[in-house]
Symmetry: D3
Subunit: 177 residues, 6 copies
Amino acid sequence: MVNLEQKTAWKRGIKMELTHFDENGKARMVDVTEKQDTVREATAVGKITVSQAVYDAIEQGTVGKGDVLGVATTAGVMGAKRTADLIPMCHILPITNCQVHFEMAPKELAVYCSCTVKVTGKTGVEMEALTGVSVALLTIYDMCKALDKSMEIGEIYLQKKTGGKSGLVENIKKGVQ
Amino acid sequence: MVNLEQKTAWKRGIKMELTHFDENGKARMVDVTEKQDTVREATAVGKITVSQAVYDAIEQGTVGKGDVLGVATTAGVMGAKRTADLIPMCHILPITNCQVHFEMAPKELAVYCSCTVKVTGKTGVEMEALTGVSVALLTIYDMCKALDKSMEIGEIYLQKKTGGKSGLVENIKKGVQ
Amino acid sequence: MVNLEQKTAWKRGIKMELTHFDENGKARMVDVTEKQDTVREATAVGKITVSQAVYDAIEQGTVGKGDVLGVATTAGVMGAKRTADLIPMCHILPITNCQVHFEMAPKELAVYCSCTVKVTGKTGVEMEALTGVSVALLTIYDMCKALDKSMEIGEIYLQKKTGGKSGLVENIKKGVQ
Amino acid sequence: MVNLEQKTAWKRGIKMELTHFDENGKARMVDVTEKQDTVREATAVGKITVSQAVYDAIEQGTVGKGDVLGVATTAGVMGAKRTADLIPMCHILPITNCQVHFEMAPKELAVYCSCTVKVTGKTGVEMEALTGVSVALLTIYDMCKALDKSMEIGEIYLQKKTGGKSGLVENIKKGVQ
Amino acid sequence: MVNLEQKTAWKRGIKMELTHFDENGKARMVDVTEKQDTVREATAVGKITVSQAVYDAIEQGTVGKGDVLGVATTAGVMGAKRTADLIPMCHILPITNCQVHFEMAPKELAVYCSCTVKVTGKTGVEMEALTGVSVALLTIYDMCKALDKSMEIGEIYLQKKTGGKSGLVENIKKGVQ
Amino acid sequence: MVNLEQKTAWKRGIKMELTHFDENGKARMVDVTEKQDTVREATAVGKITVSQAVYDAIEQGTVGKGDVLGVATTAGVMGAKRTADLIPMCHILPITNCQVHFEMAPKELAVYCSCTVKVTGKTGVEMEALTGVSVALLTIYDMCKALDKSMEIGEIYLQKKTGGKSGLVENIKKGVQ
């Protein structure tokens, strides 16, 4: 199921460690005090697979009534802003941009979501992008769960990341734009 | 990829509608004022697929140092409690129990997460369970992202739900405990 | 500017005191421990007056693109749920319903907002309704402030309240639906 | 009711668009990544109109017991800090100052509130100032609602704004200081 | 330094275990689903020891200007309401009352704080009372830290607790009212 | 009980005032707009005194099961990030590091906690460090309160602070590491 090629300047054998733990294995925030403020950007993606009835309801909602994706967009942006409240060791980042987009995939009966976040800061925004996608997809689930309780959220991963020490990171999955 | 059988008292052709929208298609909370307070329970599951290096780091962490799953458990419980803050149309529910568990799947290089939530209330807790799983898995991602930026979160769905009008809902996926 | 008639069972000379202060004038939550759980409902209203350009943009948004009122609806519902976080002496209430509606008033170049909240609880939800209206109108302001910085939010008041000791409270303003 | 003159460098026919929507009309945060960090300041005002009994209670509270305006000041400052949590497309801003002030208007039986916020940042703080005023006035309402349920909150607008691309923006209303 | 007598129905050799961990030692919320809704109340106390200059500033503030204790009261009540957001395994409780009080101790140059919280619920409110005291005392520290950076917060403990399975719990400390 | 020597560049008779109040004694945030962004660091400490049974349970938890201190570490870091939400006049600070550590003191039956926070910003992080310690100790209390309801939290103070106008501030207490 996992079939990712990774093209990245980052994967060059840099010291392998879980930076969120100190030398005694205790959890901690990573110290970014000395890092430079640079422009950083991250895009995460994910999808929710639904029944035909839900798919139709979402699609019609985008044209006329019951705008599921509109509510999910708002929730995704707000969720991205709450990342540091949710993920214990995440830094508080005054993000400068957040965009949530959806794409309907009729053959799969899926809705794809992407979330792009930017910041000028000392650390990256991949967690914000991933959290934005997760909250947006959970919101679709919530809005449609009266129709279908077997929906599945999945394939959430970092698509692209730029800026900071690790430079460009890109995960290419076949079949997903 | 989606292969769910649904055994449910609920799927009996009840009026199909997106209850989160009014007759004009405007988003709203569902009115549960008149519903009974009953015991309700929901279990959601999901997984994160990681590299060998991350898998080993997590596994060792659970025995000696760097307890990734401990932090993720805490984050999952706290995330479940924040559901109404994150998901726009979710009700505020004073949940009475929340359990987050993990299971290591060495062949898949995956960590499975389940979150079970209970409440005595007027509406169910499936969103709390799904949010708990999502936040727990995002936390694993965050704690390990220095080692691997191609991790993937997926297969998040409602495993089981009891109580309330829809009674027992169960989604059986092959190969997942 | 204030021209309210008040039809209310409540205005019958009940002991006049600021219940949010103790006998020494210190702020406190009102003790509702002994009160009954009853169904309570409140509707608050308010409006935002805007320029012609903003009015048109909002109106077009509701039919085609740039759905200002959709985002404001979501924000209003979420804001109502955050009332106890914002208003110091407000009780935490697991509200059972929240509806935000808008009405366009072309002659006034205004958008009217109403927010109705319900709960089965020991105290009323008028603060939740008023907070929902306020956050919804602030969101309209935010979404349109690139076009107009002289918008004005006003006429926020409790329209109707039922349930609890004070029974029916209704404030009638001429000219507002 | 709306009678604002606008003296502003900003109102010079700059491209009229709702910047909170992309080219497809989807809601988004405005991208401020490339903007300069400059000192920005905004003052918003508003008022609450109350009964004589409430007016007297508030006024006495400021001298001896039951300090309504003290609680409302605290709530206003805390509310301004929560702006990005409440208003969906608002940026998280580490504001550097927030002042909430009240003025009693005995002839109108009103309490005027002003909130001034500063930041060194990439975008302005008018939403923080407006949110601070709104939360402060809602808090007055809450603290006094046992005495009067026909209070009205209104005339909330941006009084002055400096810094950033739009420079000085000032809204003059007659009769309000 | 610790000199507590404990008069309690609770200390009767009930099964000793950390209920916040399951049989595998994993952290969890305690399951209170089956417990009765009863009236529960808890009072916690604590103090902050300050310099003479701070002591005088606080004392004068309570009569004329600079109301440190007023702000701390508000913060304490709001903090008590945020307990479930802060303490990972705490239940969300719709508390029905919260009172924060201060007492000046001139000989010790200390300010004592007590916080009493009530709820009709399935579990007790001692964490809410303790959190209310802690946040109130931290707020005093914050408001006075320009004058003194050697203040000390201490002697925070549960003074009294009623309701629920453990019945009356009382901790008597000599010399504290 | 308070026995602090203070070695500090700061205690040199600088103008004594409560900067959190304006000239009329009204509470406000301190205006830090014009201050420089410099690296600032603060360490706060505190302790919880427990029964032998709790002490043993905590100590065993750190080696095998029931990791009280692990949960408390996570809570402390998350609490430090919530400081501006809790303490009314605190600035929002995008802290760049947060470390929570514990030390067991078997003779005293106490657990000592320290929290170190860093930021590159316009104001210091002592409140974040003190809040982190307080929330961590409250979490220990919560996790162990089924075993002992007479635990006491105390001796919370600022141990060390560097950066900013006041330079080095250090509070030395005998007997604490």
